[in-house]
């Protein structure tokens, strides 16, 4: 396989394969940045992969007071799921348990989509008859009494069917520390791309998986071709110089957002260089037959 080298980093001639998903977004605000982030982080906890969490969610961008509906600091949170029903369920559970409960929070629609998902129009029942409906300038809000005042929540938010989940690339390095440095640089760069999230812990997955396994009931299992400890034991994808591989998994509001995020992430890894970071970049796919979206690494180079 003829491989490309950029800034001393080998780029595999392969591609990332991604899938169509349903996604929504909300804007969470709070009296200050700390508590806006806290509510957002709490509601996006345990939301790394649809395989076991029901959805994938993370903070898309932080918003300054000038960019939120109520003039307070906020976060735009994106949630991805495989189907509309599951997305609706996850949205209500997470906002109900993690945002409604967070001090001083308020919650607004963060997406104008092709359809609406219930938000305040379901959470209002917490008000037990004391909730107040307000329609202001074409937007519908619910005010629910809570112990520090009121939880204000927009009635609905938008749903998009154009979302893409599973954009990815691997950073491969001589040591764990270098792999982590490269992956962190990529995550920081992707954080600047609007409409794209990296749902794994800190944006990084170390347990990239293959579909199925030898044990019954396993949806995903170890991707032994990329496990350095099994190099030589199995048919490995790793050369002798690679001792750690980390994966960046990207979900985006659109195909373009995923591509922009991959480009930004790969650019950051290349700029960090092979001395401090990765010596090789690859990507995960299933042969190109399962996913609707294909991101060839050579098209993602800066």
């Amino acid at each position: 396989m003829p491989n490309l080298s950029v800034n001393g980093i080998m780029i595999d001639d392969t591609f990332a394969e991604a899938f169509g998903m349903r996604a929504t977004a909300i804007i969470i605000t709070a009296p200050n940045r700390k508590w806006a982030r806290q509510a957002a982080i709490t509601m996006t906890g345990f939301a790394t992969s649809v395989i076991g969490c029901g959805c994938e969610a993370a903070i898309d961008v932080e918003l300054p007071p000038s960019a939120t509906p109520d003039g307070r600091p906020g976060c735009r949170v994106m949630i991805f799921a495989m189907g509309t029903d599951e997305l609706q369920k996850q949205l209500l559970n997470r906002v109900g348990q993690c945002v409604l409960t967070s001090p001083g929070s308020a919650c607004f629609a963060g997406l104008e989509g092709s359809a609406a998902l219930k938000l305040g129009s379901a959470l209002r029942y917490f008000g037990d008859g004391w909730q107040i409906s307000k329609k202001i300038g074409g937007r519908h809000f619910w005010r629910v009494p809570v112990m520090d005042g009121e939880f204000l929540c927009e009635a609905t938010t938008g749903l998009t069917k154009e979302a893409v989940g599973g954009g990815n690339f691997f950073v491969m390095a001589e040591s764990s520390a270098k792999a982590l440095a490269a992956a962190e640089a990529a995550v920081a760069a992707i954080g600047q791309v609007p409409g794209a999230i990296v749902p794994f812990p800190g944006g990084i997955a170390r347990s990239g998986s293959k579909i199925g396994g030898k044990y019954k009931g396993m949806i995903a299992s170890a991707n032994e071709a990329y496990a350095p400890t099994l190099r030589g034991v199995v048919k490995s994808a790793l050369g002798p110089d690679i001792n750690a591989v980390l994966e960046i998994v990207i979900d985006g509001e659109t195909n373009d957002a995923v591509a922009a995020a991959m480009k930004a992430g790969i650019k950051a890894v290349i700029e960090l260089g092979p001395q401090k970071g990765a010596v090789r970049i690859s990507a995960g796919n299933y042969g190109g037959k399962l996913g609707k979206f294909i991101y060839s690494l050579k098209d993602m180079l800066p």
Partner: protein, 269 residues
């Protein structure tokens, strides 16, 4: 297309019903037929051509040049387009309008915006009693839309209001927001006696503490309110107010507990 303009030639000899002069009812009617529409309400039976000089041809953009307190039911039931009255209006201006924009550059009589369901009605002068309120026998008053009074409003503004927003910028008479069912009434410049009298739900937002409240209102303290921030920003971006009305933690009274008691009167702390 030029704005369809009705220029008042002289003070009308009788009260006039201008409800036929909206985009919906004038669509496809030629100017000479418009001039034959009867608008007089007494034995005079004045026609449009007797009262106004008609020019232009765009019924989606109607202008009345010159006003009078005898011009009743201006733009009644309008659904779209714009109507501008340069002068005063009589009773029931913009009654039951559902859409579009009505601007009255003068004073309006009683029942302005009565039973409105949508659209935007702006009165630069004062409005009479029963602003947005129902007529006798009707169950609900304003049911949607935005109604802005740059001057004063009379008594019983927003009576039995159910939905939408009324903003009165230079003070209102007694019993503003009486019997409100829901919706939002903003009054800057002070209210008369007992705002919110017998209100069931809804919000009355004031720029100062009310002079008097019915004793069946109860104090609810002044917790922080995101709703106050949202409505303050809305009023400013819509050009209704120049400064925030309520601030972050307005004082709140709940009531009227003589009835359902789910309404509120908010004013800055």
């Amino acid at each position: 297309m030029k704005a369809l303009t009705f220029t008042l030639v002289a003070e009308p000899p009788e009260r006039l019903d201008l409800s036929p002069l909206t985009a919906e009812r004038l669509a496809g009617i030629e100017r000479h037929d418009i001039e034959k529409i009867r608008i007089g309400m007494s034995k005079h039976g004045s026609k449009v051509g007797d009262i106004f000089r008609v020019a232009g041809n765009d019924p989606l953009n109607i202008v009345f040049e010159g006003g009078s307190a005898r011009l009743d039911r201006v733009a009644e039931g309008m659904r779209g387009g714009s109507v501008r009255l340069v002068g005063d209006a009589g009773a029931q201006a913009g009654r039951a309008m559902r859409g579009g924009k009505l601007t009255i550059e003068g004073d309006a009589g009683p029942h302005a915006g009565s039973g409105m369901r949508g659209g935007r009605l702006e009165i630069t002068g004062n409005a009479g009693d029963h602003l947005g309120a129902p007529l006798t026998g009707e169950l609900a008053g304003m049911n949607g839309g935005v109604l802005i009074i740059r001057g004063k409003a009379g008594a019983f503004a927003a009576d039995r209001m159910r939905r939408g927003l009324i903003a009165v910028l230079k003070g209102s008479g007694d019993h503003a927001g009486s019997r409100m069912i829901a919706g939002t009434l903003v009054v800057a410049g002070g209210t008369g006696e007992m705002p919110g009298y017998l209100m069931r739900r809804g919000s009355i937002l004031l720029d100062r503490a009310p002079r008097s409240l019915s004793p069946s209102f109860v104090e609810c303290g002044a917790p922080e309110s995101v709703f106050a921030a949202i409505i303050d920003r809305y009023l400013i971006t819509e050009g209704i107010l120049k400064r925030p009305l309520l601030g972050n933690a307005p004082h709140r009274y709940g009531g009227d507990n003589a009835v359902l008691g789910l309404g509120e009167v908010l004013f800055p702390h």
